[in-house]
């Protein structure tokens, strides 16, 4: 299926969950990411259960705590 992940078109296997996509994208600290799916912020508990569909638009929004 085709997905848009952080603005880039990607072809990925069907049935992938958010957690699967985080692994696929080699995100080492999923705790440091908020995930927006088609404009909605997902609950963390939904990462395991939410299956992605053709054309979904996913944004990984990283926690950035630095400033000094």
């Amino acid at each position: 299926m085709q997905l848009i992940v952080n603005g880039e078109n990607l072809k990925l296997q069907d049935g992938l969950t958010i957690n699967g996509l985080l692994k696929e994208k080699d995100v080492k600290t999923p705790d440091m990411v908020s995930v927006e799916l088609n404009g909605q912020i997902l609950r963390r508990s939904e990462f395991e259960t939410t299956e992605l569909k053709e054309g979904d638009n996913v944004e990984f929004l990283y926690f950035m705590g630095g400033g000094k």
Binding site: N6, I41, L61, Y62, M64, G66, G67, K68
Partner: protein, 272 residues
């Protein structure tokens, strides 16, 4: 308020802009902006806001200048090492622009003091270095109804968003709760490109100036992300989250609370 001849010359490159003019410059001179954290983000923000003639500039920080700060915290100079950051910053502001009334708060913001500190200001800039402070500032600005700019940096990446509390998506609408301390990589562990802080802090100052002038489009309901390696700027649409623990209809958070968090700063120990 009317501008003196000296002020007309000092701010001439502002005044000549049709979206600023004498009126806009007077707005800036009568405005009050608070910068929390006189570090990587705070340094350029304070310098530009002072130069712009923001009439009252608050600076809050509880740290002293450390040698390892100077790679990016451009308001502090080598001779300022071991001087408190607010004192170091206030000296530079006075050198840049005597029009500015600087108010200093030599403290870290905490649940017990933050509402009082921000209360008198029109716009707040979050230039802090840890999640406890970032969430606290978001919550305090919500309770006090203060617009603010969130900024964050790590490695080669930065982000910012502007929040008009109650009206637009807040920091918690996107990020909910602070991440578990164990998963937080600090700047001293991860490093940070010095000039990155300059880019993001300058963008935060731009938002403050636009808010005061009431011109242009604020970075509300958007998260701007910046990757300096790819030179990519992306504006990601966000919206108020109906499950936000702070600004949704039945919020979980009804008052300010301190949260122990590791800091993104090399001179202090990382607590886990």
């Amino acid at each position: 308020m009317s501008l003196t001849e000296q002020q007309i010359e000092r701010y001439s490159r502002h005044i000549i802009l049709d979206k600023v003019g004498g009126k806009g410059q007077e707005k800036l001179l009568s405005s009050k902006v608070l910068v929390i954290g006189a570090g990587g983000l705070g340094s350029p923000a304070i310098l530009y806001l002072a130069a712009a003639g923001v009439g009252t500039l608050g600076i809050a920080d509880g740290d002293k200048v450390d040698l390892s700060n100077l790679q990016r915290q451009i308001i502090h100079h080598t001779e300022d090492i071991n001087v408190s950051k607010v004192e170091s910053a206030v000296n530079k502001v006075r050198e840049i622009n005597p029009d500015v009334d600087v108010r200093i708060y030599r403290t870290h913001v905490r649940a017990e003091n933050v509402r009082e500190i921000i209360r008198d200001y029109d716009f707040i800039i979050d230039g802090t270095d840890n999640f406890a402070a970032k969430f606290l500032i978001n919550d305090a600005c919500f309770f006090e109804g203060k617009p603010f700019s969130h900024g964050g940096i790590l490695g080669f990446d930065g982000q910012l968003m502007t929040v008009l509390p109650g009206e637009t998506a807040c920091y918690r609408c996107v990020f909910g709760y602070p991440p578990s301390p164990g998963s937080v990589l600090s700047c001293s562990q991860a490093g940070v490109l010095g000039v990155l802080a300059g880019v993001v802090g300058s963008l935060q100052a731009t938002e403050a100036v636009k808010y005061i002038l009431d011109e242009g489009d604020l970075l509300t309901n958007k998260l701007l992300t910046y990757n300096s390696l790819k030179m990519n700027f992306r504006k990601i649409d966000i919206k108020k989250n109906p499950e936000c623990p702070l600004c949704a209809e039945n919020p979980e958070i009804k008052q300010l609370k301190d949260q122990p968090q590791p800091v993104c700063n090399s001179e202090r120990k990382i607590t886990r």
